[in-house]
Symmetry: C2
Subunit: 256 residues, 2 copies
C-alpha cells in the first residue's frame, strides 16, 4: 500500500529552466489521487521561496510545508546545537540564512556555492575547521546535469576536499541522510514502508531513500541519469522508468 | 650505517621567503661529511629552476640532479604512458611542462594551483575525467604552513575533490609515493635501509619514507609541524628533533 510520495525536483520535475515534459501533469494526477506529496531536493543554489515560485511557473503548486530543503535542515541543526554559521554557499541561498543565531559554537555550512567556490573561500572555511568549527554539508552530491547538458561538480567534491584537509567527517544534512527522509515522511504521517521515492540520482535519491526504509524507489531516466546507473549503487532501485509520468503510472495502477 | 640523506625543503630548509635558522649550515655539514644528499619536495608552486635559485640565495647549492620534484615525475609518467597533460597547476609551474607531448591519451595533472583552483578550472578537469582522462596528482598533501604562519590548503584536498566527483583514485606522484622515494634513492645508489629522511610532514615525509623502506625518518618541529603530529600517523617517526640542525647532529654522531 502506498500512502505517501516523495519527489526529487531537479532532473525529475524540471531540468534547468524547463519543466520536464509531462511532469506538471504527473504531479496533478498524484494530487487528484489524494496521496500526500513531499518534495525533497538537494538543490542548494536557490532559496525556498524561489524554488516554490519556479514550480508555480511550471504549473506545480507546492506549499512551503511540502518542500524539504537542506537549508531548512541546517537552520534546525544550528539552533539545536547552539552554533553560528560560517557560510560557504551560493549567494542566492543566503536569503534562507537571514536569521538570528546565538550560541558559542561555529559550523562551516557548505552548499553548492558554484562560482563562489574559490581557493580563498575554501581556505577560510578550512581555517575555521582547524580552529574547531563543525562541518555541515547541505548535501554531498557528486555532480548534477548542468544547463549545457553536461555533468558539473556539485557540492559533494568540495565537502570531500574540506573533509580530507581537516581529517574530519561532515554531517550531511540533505539526501541521502536518513534524518532528512524521516523528517519529510513524518510531516505527512507516512510510515517509510508505505512511501515511494522518485528520483534521478541512483545514489542520493534511490539508495538513500531505500536505506532510510522507504519501500519503493523509482529511478527516472531524466536529469543526471546515465546508462547503467541502476547497477552502480546498493541498494538498487525498485525499478527504472522513463520519467516521472511513467513513475506515476506505476504508483497509480488500480487507483485512478 | 647511513649512506644517504633525503631532505624535504619547505618547512625544513626554508619557511616562506626565509631560510630556517641554521639550515644552510646544517646542509654544509652534511656535504662536508661526504654523504650523498637528495632534496625531495612536494612543492608544486615553483618550477625546478626557481627552487634551485631560491636555495642558492640561502647559500644552499643544489644540482638539478639532486632535486626531485613531482613535476619531473609527471613528465616521466606522461611520456611512459603516451599521454598529453590537461594542467590544473600553479601558473609558475607551467614552465616545467613546456615540452612536446605525444600520444592519444590524456591525463589531468593536479598540483597546488593555489588561486588558480576555482570552480571553472576544477569543473573543466572533472569533465576531462568523465571523458576518460587519467588523474595524476603531483602531490596529495593536505595543508602547508602559509606565509602568514597559518595552515592553508595544499593540493591534496582538490585531488580528493576530483576523486570524489569522478569516483576514481588518483595516481599520486610525489611523496608519499614509494616510487618517488625509490627514484631519489636509486639516483644516489643508496639502499633504502641505509637512508635517512628529514621532514616536517608526519604523513608524506615520515610515514611515506618509512613505508618506502627508509630506515630512519626524523620529524622536525619546524614548518607545518604541530604538537602531537608524531602520534597521528603510522609508522611513527624514528625521532622528533627541533630542526634540521638537530637532525644533522644526530646523523653525524661519530662522523664529524
Amino acid at each position: 500500500m502506498t500512502s505517501g510520495v516523495l519527489l526529487d525536483l531537479s532532473g525529475v520535475i524540471y531540468e534547468g529552466p524547463r519543466a520536464i515534459p509531462g511532469a506538471p501533469e504527473a504531479v496533478s494526477r498524484l494530487r487528484k489521487s489524494g496521496l500526500p506529496l513531499r518534495f525533497v531536493t538537494n538543490t542548494t543554489r536557490s532559496p525556498k521561496q524561489a524554488i516554490i515560485r519556479r514550480l508555480a511557473e511550471f504549473g506545480v503548486a507546492v506549499a512551503e510545508s511540502e518542500l524539504f530543503t537542506p537549508a531548512q535542515a541546517a537552520l534546525d541543526w544550528l539552533r539545536e546545537h547552539g552554533c553560528r554559521p560560517h557560510l560557504l554557499i551560493h549567494p542566492d541561498l543566503r536569503l534562507d540564512f537571514e536569521a538570528e543565531f546565538s550560541g558559542s559554537g561555529w559550523a562551516v555550512v557548505v552548499g553548492d556555492a558554484a562560482d563562489a567556490f574559490d581557493y580563498a573561500s575554501l581556505n577560510r572555511a578550512f581555517r575555521e575547521l582547524i580552529h574547531g568549527a563543525s562541518l555541515l554539508a547541505l548535501a554531498k552530491n557528486r555532480k548534477f546535469e548542468d544547463s549545457d547538458g553536461e555533468l558539473s561538480l556539485d557540492a559533494g567534491p568540495f565537502v570531500a576536499a574540506l573533509e580530507f584537509a581537516s581529517e574530519r567527517q561532515a554531517t550531511v544534512l540533505g539526501k541521502p541522510s536518513a534524518d532528512f527522509y524521516e523528517a519529510a515522511l513524518a510531516s505527512m504521517l507516512c510510515p517509510a514502508e508505505e512511501a515511494v521515492m522518485i528520483g534521478d540520482d541512483a545514489e542520493a535519491d534511490i539508495a538513500g531513500a531505500l536505506n532510510a526504509g522507504v519501500s519503493v524507489a523509482l529511478l527516472v531516466r531524466t536529469g543526471k541519469y546515465r546508462d547503467g546507473d541502476e547497477r552502480r549503487f546498493d541498494p538498487a532501485p525498485t525499478a527504472v522508468v522513463d520519467d516521472v509520468s511513467a513513475a506515476v503510472d506505476r504508483i497509480l495502477v488500480g487507483r485512478e
